[in-house]
Subunit: 353 residues, 2 copies
């Protein structure tokens, strides 16, 4: 474990935006899951999700909406932004990247670096880290856009994944001006597990063909395309409750903290049952671990900032600084954690697009 410490960067503002179309899983899942639906919703915590549906809404739209809302609500001029970092695995196009498009759409003066980071559920921790390094280097605010339209690569006929994922786009402004507490970041990667959570046919290993777009049937009755996500739920479950647990245990040991040091632990909103187990094993009280997947589902790398806007915006808006443990984990397999403090956070209700 090699902690990366960063001093004097602050999370100034966070906004989150979801599509207005809501899927109620009690309705949606009747046919696919039959008798097992209620217990599945109870254990996963995924009651409903916001999805793009038939609207031609993308991650870029949701993130741009969030950023514009921050600029307007808090009188932050776009020309105060010194870089754009866009975390997504669902860009409008592989060329150009979303960050370049966001620069134009947000009317941010172009004398700045703009780049995308591709990461899944651990992406927000990566985004915060890289954005903090950039903010310290350039001495200006960084706009971190982070979102995914997960519903566009999850098959509605795949029992492993159908009710889990929602869409969201967020905007976070990092500010390197002022004296703020030291943050501690750490990451881990286990690429040997990568095949257990992947989109096998959306990239350049398997060339996209007409066959990639056809639904195929699997042994459990599920159907999905090669350009849809496939997940081995048992491997992911074990990863979260065992590997991620041990990882976070080691991280807190390394930085010499205990659960009682934190106001909140904000975890990637993977699944309520898994998170409750993770929190209990680590020693966090349920009240320390806010959850919003019941309203928004698993929104991949957007789930941490979305969860903050949904559950903690009032608490973090006060001048009384709160210490937080944030952790994202998922495809890669990737682990990321950060110990940081937030105060005077500028935020507001989740926006609907």
């Amino acid at each position: 474990m090699a902690i990366s410490n960063i001093e004097n960067v602050n999370i100034e503002a966070i906004a989150a935006c979801v599509p207005k179309t809501v899927i109620n899983n009690y309705e949606f899942g009747k046919e696919l899951y039959g008798d097992k639906l209620n217990s599945l919703i109870n254990s996963t915590g995924m009651v409903q999700r916001h999805v793009c549906g038939d609207e031609s809404i993308t991650t870029l739209d949701l993130c741009v909406k969030s950023a514009n809302a921050l600029f307007e609500s808090f009188s932050i001029s776009p020309d105060k932004i010194g870089a754009i970092v866009f975390v997504t695995l669902t860009p409008d196009s592989l060329m150009p990247n979303n960050a370049s498009s966001a620069q134009a759409l947000l009317k941010i003066p172009g004398n700045i670096p703009c780049f995308d980071i591709n990461h899944a559920c651990s992406g927000y921790i990566y985004g915060l880290w890289v954005s903090s390094l950039v903010a310290r280097s350039i001495g200006k605010r960084v706009l971190l856009l982070d979102g995914d339209t997960n519903s566009l690569y999850v098959s509605p006929l795949d029992k492993s994944t159908a009710i889990l994922f929602g869409d969201a786009g967020t905007a976070t402004i990092l500010n390197p001006e002022g004296n703020f507490s030291k943050w501690a970041f750490d990451f881990k990667t286990d690429g040997s597990l990568r095949k257990f959570l992947q989109i096998p046919g959306l990239g350049f290993r398997e060339k996209i063909s007409h066959g990639s777009l056809e639904y195929q049937k699997y042994a459990d009755g599920s159907q999905r395309r090669r350009i849809d996500m496939e997940m081995d739920g048992a491997v992911v479950f074990n990863y979260v409750v065992s590997d991620v647990y041990q990882y976070l245990r080691a991280f807190m040991d390394e930085i010499e903290t205990v659960p009682q040091d934190y106001a909140y632990a904000v975890f990637h909103q993977a699944n309520a049952f898994m998170l409750r187990q993770l929190a209990r094993k680590l020693g966090f009280a349920p009240s320390q671990v806010p959850m919003s997947m019941g309203k928004y589902g698993n929104t991949s790398s957007a789930s941490i900032p979305l969860n903050i806007c949904s559950e903690l915006r009032n608490q973090l808006g006060s001048s009384d600084s709160k210490r937080l443990l944030l952790s994202g984990f998922g495809a890669g397999f990737a682990y990321g954690a950060v110990d940081l403090e937030i105060s005077n956070l500028k935020s507001f209700d989740i926006i609907e697009y």
Copy 2:
């Protein structure tokens, strides 16, 4: 312009790998270009290109091959690597990212961050910048993998692009140990031009459909799919010889350098005619501007490290430090430049896969 300065990072080693399949443009382009072929090859400088062809080779394979060659040739143990940054727009899959796969394939211990940056022709400058920031933060070597299999998204029937692009994967090791000169990075983005160089149908704005995979005919007789690149050559030409020129002029003014301060200017290998104009206007002698697109084509973000391995490895291997201006430019539209020094570079001939 907001220069990002970085001190005490060194480019320790670079390797580059291309597929063994060679396309000779004099043969390949006969039917598509007819009488105009010879002058087109003369002006662009694109004589031949290495491409994946029918082999199932990906960017990941080419970059892993490059990295392994560095580890083996220079006795650099994988456990000395503290992070992996993978610059590509042609990953094996959008989930997981290539960096996570590279961690497993290269047998690099997993207690490290691994992430992908999506950028096109300016990507190596972004990769060097972010990798340098990471290296300074963690105090360990960073493995920067950078490559693209451009031939997989360029239509062989599109007159604007058919003969231009080759495939390559590179590996660069950045080392933060030692006392090295100060580097100066700068970036610029003009997202308003993004539609003039894009892959319109490979992403989530246009959902991928059977229609996306069909070749469509265009007014000039070209054919391409929506998942292929489309380029407005006139806009790109003007961008390079006018906008990029002015950008680099302003960059050198800002950091107070003149062409004579540099041993070499290593530009993205977009097109020989454009680069000669760019170099002449800036005041660089032809001998200062190495070109290798005649052998490898435009390899997108890999072109700068590939060009260094191809044309400068002996010169940069000496203990006599050389000052270089590197600049990448392309889709976004994106500009990136860095002023740096290299000495004792570990490198070798381009590898064929």
